[in-house]
Amino acid sequence: DQQVKQNSPSLSVQEGRISILNCDYTNSMFDYFLWYKKYPAEGPTFLISISSIKDKNEDGRFTVFLNKSAKHLSLHIVPSQPGDSAVYFCAASASSTGNQFYFGTGTSLTVIP
């Protein structure tokens, strides 16, 4: 039972344009959401997070938006750079149940120079 879903397995974007990665979740107990970036044969690295009390969090070129009513979040990268090419995972946790992190299946982003 996949509680966190990323329905787009891949995305290609031109350098300098905006990349939008989407994520949906089903568990209403989730109150903390994270995005990770992963290169092949490496562990994921934390990018940005958002708690359920916010609807937007920004860190440099990265912005995460949360729509709690739709159980949807998205990661915006602008401007996109070739070094952003990687697999991006969305994750969610519920602080009330011990912070197990549940991940989506990932979206492979390719930024074309």
Binding site: Y36, G43, T45, S49, S95, N99, F101, F103
Partner: protein, 113 residues
């Protein structure tokens, strides 16, 4: 600062052989610890998590087990590996309090032949 060590980086094991992957965390006390698996073409599946010494919760029934003999040590084991156990195994830790991120090790590529 906190660091997480995971070894070995790669492992090739025959079907039916035992498995032991080790993970240690430095620079923090009483972390939450996690084992994840990334199978080919799939997301990160939570296998086990631990909130303290000897406290292990399993997310999915399988051929694997986990143990936490010390506060900052987490071990993934199997008595007899199956072909389906092949994958990329990741250890992670988090502070375990409130809204918090998980930080990953570099992973172990396990190939069962």
């Amino acid at each position: 600062s906190q660091t997480i060590h995971q070894w070995p980086a790669t492992l090739v094991q025959p079907v039916g052989s035992p498995l032991s992957l080790e993970c240690t965390v430095e620079g923090t006390s009483n972390p939450n610890l996690y084992w994840y698996r990334q199978a080919a073409g799939r997301g990160l599946q939570l296998l086990f998590y631990s909130v303290g010494i000897g406290q292990i919760s399993s997310e999915v029934p399988q051929n694997l087990s986990a143990s936490r003999p010390q506060d900052r040590q987490f071990i993934l084991s199997s008595k007899k590996l199956l072909l389906s156990d092949s994958g990329f195994y990741l250890c992670a830790w988090s502070g375990g309090v409130g809204w918090d991120e998980a930080f990953f090790g570099q992973g172990t590529r396990l190939t069962v032949v």
